[in-house]
């Protein structure tokens, strides 16, 4: 199993670095832009605070974007949330199906390793990649704060990154199940799911009737403005996320160990 984990980490290193440097780099640039926009941001903060539901949706009513923490939460929070969810979906959706899609399954599964172990090894690889991705992006954000000579709100930043990691794991778990059931890589479907759950969260924050059901979506507990303002996520969101992760991983095991492998 260790050999498979090492192999997968090696094979996916380039992709991981491209995604992490892109998302982290974008966040870093956003942070640096804060000083050049500081004056305008004050006026923007006043305007946004009067925008009602839309300000709620993007967290601008919770935290002022005139502060660096507020600016980070609204701007970088969105970039990281979307970018990391797409990375998780992209990465996990190909993890198992690529073996059948690329016809490498006959080589891999002729080696003395059970399908259960392959599913476990690849799930561990996804987890390691998501942790490294989060760590690289986090390092960029801390560097951004340091470049501006601002103190990093450490507690909030760690909570923000851990919540994002949990959301990424949830999106990856759903995408991993898609990967186990399909014999062709369904990257488009997985990316679509990531975008739909992001849209669901935005809609849930704009439409008052949907607010009670916000906790269903993984983005409900990664709203950076709420995290930086110290507001608790919707009740049950963490519990539901844990249930989704466990259920999809169990379903992945069942599907993949019972299916006929395409030649």
């Amino acid at each position: 199993m260790t050999a498979i984990i090492k192999q997968e980490l090696k094979l996916n290193l380039k992709s991981l670095l491209i995604w992490a440097l892109t998302v982290g780099g974008l966040g870093f640039i956003c942070i640096l832009m804060y000083t050049s926009m500081e004056g305008d941001v004050m006026e923007m903060a006043d305007t946004f605070s009067d925008m009602g539901a839309f300000a709620d949706a993007f967290g601008m009513s919770t935290l002022s974007i005139a502060t660096l923490a507020g600016f980070f939460a609204t701007e970088v929070g969105t970039v990281h949330g979307l970018g990391s969810a797409m990375f998780a979906a992209f990465f996990a959706s190909a993890m198992l199906s690529k073996e059948e899609d690329g016809h490498t399954g006959e080589f891999l599964f002729s080696l003395p390793v059970s399908r259960g172990k392959v599913v476990t090894a690849k799930a561990i690889t996804i987890l390691i990649n998501l942790i490294i991705f989060t760590a690289i992006c986090g390092a960029f954000y801390v560097l951004g704060f340091a470049c501006l000579g601002e103190e990093v709100p450490a507690k909030e930043m760690i909570r923000f990154l851990l919540c994002m990691l949990l959301m990424n794991i949830e999106v990856a778990a759903i995408s991993y199940l898609i990967s186990a059931t399909a014999s062709k890589t369904r990257m488009g479907l997985a990316l679509g799911i990531a975008l739909i759950i992001y849209t669901y969260d935005i809609m849930g924050r704009v439409i008052p009737d949907l607010k009670d059901y916000l906790f269903i979506g993984p983005f409900s507990y990664v709203n950076a403005s709420e995290i930086f303002a110290g507001i608790a996520p919707p009740g049950g969101s963490f519990l539901l996320a844990s249930i989704v992760i466990v259920a999809t991983i169990v379903a992945t095991f069942i599907c993949y160990t019972r299916k006929d492998l395409a030649s």
């Binding site: 050999a3 090492k6 080589f107 599964f109």
Partner: protein
Amino acid sequence: MGNVISIKNLTKTYGKKRGVADVSFEVQEGEIFGFIGPNGAGKSTTIRSMLGFLRFDSGSIEILGMDAVKDHERILKEVGYMPSEALFYPAMKVSEVIKYAADVRRMDCRDEAAKLCERLQVDTSKRIKELSLGNRKKVSIVCAMQHRPRLFIFDEPTSGLDPLMQNTFFELIKEYVKEGTTCMLSTHVLPEVRKHCDRAAIMREGHLIKTDTVENLIKTSVKNVKLTAEGRTEEYIFKGDINELIRDLGQKNIQNLTIEEPSLEDMFMHFYEGEEEVK
């Protein structure tokens, strides 16, 4: 000699599509066993069921005395499999693929791999994406042989290999077989079976129609008849009472006649074109 492979009443369907039905045969220890049939006959379905890639509907498969479903992982430790397509991760180097296969097996196969690479002239520094089918096949042979398994299962092994390499490949098989390895060779290249196999099984449309020694498959009551009569040349396979054939020929004005044992190719075509099922 015991059975290394024992398949009983194997049936596998793909929804409404036919896979294989009621296939039973044995492969004995130390033999080279040919598994013959055209594309779609059910050879790959049988092999993929043996290796656990497919969940078969009914029947049983025993390999090296172990159950193919329950002892799947243990069986694969003792098996060297070469798939027909020989596809690997394109970005990897040949040396990395060979090492990866050994690492998953938790074995140090460097000496054997080096010997095989030398014999097969494998350039281990190249990336998989740079290799032709023939060269990928050679990598596949190294991966299947480097751990010195007790059983080889090869699916269309020689397609893409040049004649020199085909010779080296069969030399290698014979060397391993001499040391106790058993080999099952799925192919539709009949001269290979005739030249290298001890016994063979013939598959047709998902059914096993004949299993016997290669010698017996050729030496049957079936005759290959080639005749020229009244300016017309005919060639056909005759099966039945030889006296009937002679009576039939006696009524013709024959200019030239040859009656000989059929080649394996002729036998194969006979089994394929024949209406009746030969057991």
